[in-house]
Amino acid sequence: MSRHDLSAKGPLIYRQSIWTRATHWIWAVCLFFLMLTGLQIFNAYPKLDIGKESGFEYDNSVFEIGARQIGGEVRGFTRMFGRELDTTGVLGVSNGQVRAFPAAVTIPSNRDLATGRVIHFFFAWLLAGTLAIWLVAGVLTGHLRQLLPRTGDLRALGPDIANHARLRFHHRRRYGALQKLAYAGVMFILLPMMFLTGLSMSPSFNAVAPWLLDVFGGRQTARTLHFLVMLLLIGFFVIHILMVLASGPLNALRSMLSGWYRVDPELQSGADEPGHQPPTQKET
């Protein structure tokens, strides 16, 4: 196979260990359930406040989904930082029911805080266990080192952004600068934030670590941040899926299921990684 033949396929390399693949799918399932049960839990008090407590005789909310009677009709509204939008049909009122988030995006679909909580905490535990396994395996297999951005990645950031903007993707053994930033951001910032803000809402955990309340500026601020980070995780998910679709969905899916990933042909010699051994190759 000629290295200059553009239509030629590069070699299959073993890119993702079983630990990475298994944990990836488990937390994908966990995050799906955590988000939809989280929206169920939000519906029980569809407001986000700032501070130690919730204002009932004063207003400390920054976000609210509600419903009110307007001219004999119940209209849903969404208010953010004092600006209000009529969101009837989606938020506030949907399918003739008064509820913040609609049945289509909550688990269970009907209003059931108790079940929402039971499922939420089950998957929170499963996610915590999965992340612990991932962390240990990541240290042992060196996957963690590949994920952490280095100074070289910052220099590569400009060209990497330019390539992404042109939808020109490199298929290499190693993650690119933007990939590292995105994955490390999720694993080391967003997910820990989810656990810490979640634990800040636990009166029992507050007694164990009261300082956590101060870190986040009070229980209600922690709850608001929990919601905000959830939105950031959805943002990551959307971009993640778009990038997978744009860069070759079958190759990406294969690597996350079987571990084998087809890299670009010119990388056969390992030229982009001076000092590194050529990647493990598989016959094609």
Partner: protein
């Protein structure tokens, strides 16, 4: 090799189709988990006992809930759930300013007690400014005054097999064919003897209002609001929940909420 790649591809396609089918099925797929006693729910509920054991391990017996200052009290305590028990006996007592209120301490104790309002008020009291966290998600800071439950239990002398403290209440949220279903709650002996667990009769420097549980309500500061039963008339020490309600140890636990509400 090419052959296996193709097989893998078709496998990939099938798994994608399968996954999207699950997503399109909508969230009703998981509604079976709402059925109490279903196998799916039992799996999910297994995490609750993990939460309970972990929080007990971390918090031990006597880690204290945060106490706030007067400057943190910005409003009156937000009432939730029952705000006025509708039984005639309760309302007669309320008209009389709860002067003839009595608290009974029964069950697995060596000396069952009947404590009058005066004797409760005469016992050493504790005042604490704490945050009330409702299971719905809101919080409210207020100053509570009352008798530490541990003191009352000391007088009643629990038997060695007493494992839980049950609070029986005057309020009924719903009615069944057999009559009103009265609110009840229970906590373990660790929370019962916790220094901040009090039988509160005062709120923000005044007698406890009816909407907040007059004449007596429980404060269990390391758990959620529904554990803090209002309108308490009897404290019963038990070994198990089998003879109470639907057997889960609390009105809301009988209706699917966690018995241990530490999170």
């Amino acid at each position: 090799m090419r052959r296996t790649t193709l097989d893998r591809r078709s496998f990939l396609r099938r798994s994608v189709l399968g996954a999207s089918g699950l997503a399109l099925g909508g969230c009703k797929v998981f509604d079976n988990a709402t059925v109490q006693g279903s196998a799916m729910r039992a799996v999910f509920e297994s995490a609750s006992s993990l939460t309970y054991r972990t929080q007990r391990l971390l918090g031990g017996g006597h880690s204290l809930a945060r106490e706030y200052t007067r400057a943190d009290i910005l409003q009156s305590q937000h009432p939730n759930g029952s705000v006025l028990p509708d039984s005639e006996s309760y309302q007669a007592m309320a008209r009389n300013g709860f002067a003839n209120f009595e608290l009974a301490v029964t069950g697995l104790v060596d000396s069952p007690l009947t404590l009058s309002r005066e004797s409760l008020l005469a016992m050493p009291a504790r005042t604490q400014i704490t945050r009330h966290d409702c299971v719905e998600g809101w919080s409210c800071i207020a100053e509570w005054t009352g008798v530490p439950l541990g003191q009352v239990l000391e007088q009643a002398r629990p038997k060695p097999n007493a494992r839980y403290v049950v609070f029986h209440c005057h309020d009924a949220i719903e009615r069944s064919l057999a009559g009103p279903v009265y609110y009840y709650e229970s906590i373990d002996m660790i929370d019962a003897c916790h220094p901040q667990t009090i039988l509160a009769y005062g709120l923000n420097g005044s007698p406890l209002p009816i909407a907040n549980g007059a004449p007596l309500r429980v404060r269990v500061e390391r758990q959620l609001g529904y554990k803090m039963a209002k309108y308490v008339h009897t404290i019963e020490l038990v070994e198990s929940f089998s003879d109470l309600g639907r057997g889960k140890g609390s009105y809301w636990a009988d209706r699917g909420y966690e018995w241990y509400a530490g999170i």
